[in-house]
Symmetry: C2
Subunit: 414 residues, 2 copies
């Protein structure tokens, strides 16, 4: 037991253990664990909340469940009285990629940064209490640095250490160029921690290197080192790749209840436990119970998945919508029927139209070639009947129900 | 022949060739030669002088003959109407070494930078016309750069390219650390050339990498690229290592005529041609003649070396001193006699003294143990007679001549 721990009352010691158990849930790695326990102890002794840092890339503000892995962990800290430091990496965003090679790192205007930050906050508000959050824009301190400051910063790290970062190491090995400015992104992230005196920095395991930079630079600047708390990466609906917008394997937290629920049902069985652990607000006990029941066969995987889907919808749309989504799913997919509610389209075009044009006009498919493929693959129904003739012309009647795939419906009114 | 050359009159074409021959004399490498010829042609066509850059490290202002290799080349450009850009690297000097590991790169104050620059200029004035020189302190533009500018600069170069620099490559190979800030010194040198739009940068072959950075960054910033003009490194009096203060194998341009001449006589025979070529103001024709006469035996190496010594003294102290130094050398070393002129010391101590104490008191040797060794090695004479008894006590008489080694004399007066 550390000296610090000995100063705690027995009650406080139990509290440290309780928080440690909570924060360790679902975590990939805490670097180092003892320091986190010490920080919690100190926070109790001094009645001072810990500063929990999360850095945000302002270029991609669409939040999906992959992001909530970290957000849920932040929420746990927040619910125990600690302070969240949200850092918008606007300095980086405003610089963009000076080589102009990376499309992802295009230069953002002040307007865009602000708009994207606002988008983040609206979505984050569904998981954490945004009123208690500290907001920071790192351009505030980074744009103040002059060349001499930058050289002093650079003097505190070696080239070899930077080259240890996996992606740099790989590019060197394969002879792919690394532009020198790229070395500065980890430096900036580290310097943010120096500036904000963060106690803990959260991130996915892919942030391992960058978050350790915070520890490195805090030490070099004579500050107390932050603890790195790394969360596992959440595989997307394909069960293989990290959930991401570009892979189209994500559930966005702004998606409709039906869409969310339907996508949740497509999660591979073997990922279910991980999803329960990382993206729901269930207690460790409840998750343990579910795991147990799945193992013994008491709980059918499909039912567990429906619980997962309902829980996700409940977290982002509330109890009522969660139940509706479940009912919808049951009626459409389990009973194979047409749902009670669906979008209605007031038709204003020609009544005589090819099926392909109709599908594109209704925005149910984005191109004629896609529409053709979908018809040929038996993915289109009219009033519940499959259509497989891609050349079909039809006359639109009032109340016609068009279905694409399993979940897209439209009812036409004249 | 390039398009540019075709625009020149025949007279101008001859002039380009003349200048090219002159500037090529003694040079190790011109990168690339054609561009230098084009720049000279353009300068003639537009009646605009070329800008010839030389960067100076403000931390070591003692100028020795090794430095004059480059200075003599600068002088040739200056004598042909081109403009010398002297750049004091004060920005680098003021930063020092942020890791604090390099003693050579200690942080300099403004005062020190100015004082060292002045010391440079006084010495340079012996070789180039300082009134026609453009003086620049690179802190003027480098201290203006903010973090964003630095990142943009860093975005214009790859890590792999920087690691190509010999010393970096070697340190990586041997696992020795390179601090990230060290990558910025070549960047700064390159950016200086962007800022000053230099046409030619001069330096020793050890500056190969850094001078090419100027070409690299000028191109990246859309400027005309400078030509790198690299001079060979001058070996010092030991004939092995590069002339440098720390190796004590140098002839300083502020040294006394006798010291200069004496040191020149100790240059190894095989280096004589190189010295004539690199540090005298002789024309290529005259140097060719000397080489030729040495080969045929018409000129004795000792006489050639005396010509070299006399020339060096003449360049830094004038004709009269050069002749005096020669006469002194002839009388002391060739005739083995005591020179006509020597420092006189008004004796104020005890007349009864040990020889060892006397040598130390006269500052002719720096410690008793050194004095003892010198006596034991037959290196001390009194009134022209060798003394080999290290225990000798003597009574000082008016006019006593003390000699240490071949060249140190003192005459004591009472």
């Amino acid at each position: 037991m550390s000296q610090l721990m000995e100063k705690l009352t027995q009650e406080q010691q139990i509290e440290v253990k309780r928080q440690m158990t909570l924060y360790s849930q679902g975590v990939q790695e805490i670097i180092p664990t003892e320091e986190l326990a010490n920080k919690i102890a100190k926070s109790l002794l001094e009645n001072k909340p810990l500063k929990i840092k999360l850095g945000l890339d302002p270029s991609a503000p669409d939040v999906h469940l992959g992001h909530t892995v970290v957000l849920n962990k932040m929420r746990q800290f927040q619910e125990n009285g600690h302070v969240i430091q949200l850092i918008i990496g606007d300095f980086t965003g405003k610089i963009g990629d000076p080589t102009g090679k990376s499309v992802a790192r295009k230069q953002l205007t002040d307007e865009e940064v602000k708009h994207n930050a606002k988008t983040y906050f609206e979505q984050f508000a569904k998981v954490i209490d945004m009123e208690k959050v500290e907001l920071h824009y790192n351009s505030k301190w980074l744009s103040e640095l002059n060349f001499e400051d930058v050289i002093n910063l650079a003097g505190k790290i070696t080239v070899a250490r930077l080259l240890e970062r996996d992606d740099f190491e790989e590019r060197i090995a394969f002879g792919k160029p690394i532009s020198l400015h790229e070395f500065f992104y980890p430096l900036m992230q580290g310097y943010d921690s120096v500036n904000l005196e963060s106690d803990v920095e959260l991130g996915g395991t892919d942030q391992h290197f960058n978050i350790l930079m915070g520890r490195h630079f805090q030490e070099k600047f004579g500050k107390e080192k932050q603890v790195a708390l790394l969360m596992p990466l959440l595989e997307g609906l394909d069960g293989v790749e990290k959930m991401s917008k570009s892979k189209k394997n994500y559930i966005g937290i702004d998606e409709s209840p039906q869409e969310m629920y339907g996508k949740a049902m497509s999660i591979p069985d073997e990922l279910m436990n991980k999803y329960f652990e990382l993206i729901t607000d269930f207690t460790p006990e409840k998750i343990g119970m579910i795991k147990n029941q799945l193992e013994t066969g008491e709980l059918h995987p499909r039912d567990a998945k429906m619980l997962l889907g309902k829980t996700i919808v409940r977290m982002y749309h509330g109890q009522e919508e969660a139940e509706k989504a479940e009912n919808h799913f049951v009626s459409v997919f389990q009973k194979g029927s047409i749902p009670e509610e669906m979008p209605e389209v007031q038709w204003q075009g020609d009544l005589d139209i090819s099926l392909i044009d109709l599908l594109v006009h209704l925005n149910m498919l984005s191109s004629k070639s896609e529409a053709r493929r979908m018809i040929e693959n038996n993915g289109v129904k009219l009033n519940g009947n499959k259509v497989d003739d891609a050349q079909l012309h039809l006359v639109i009647t009032d109340g016609l129900i068009v279905q694409v795939g399993k979940r897209k419906f439209a009812k036409i009114t004249l």
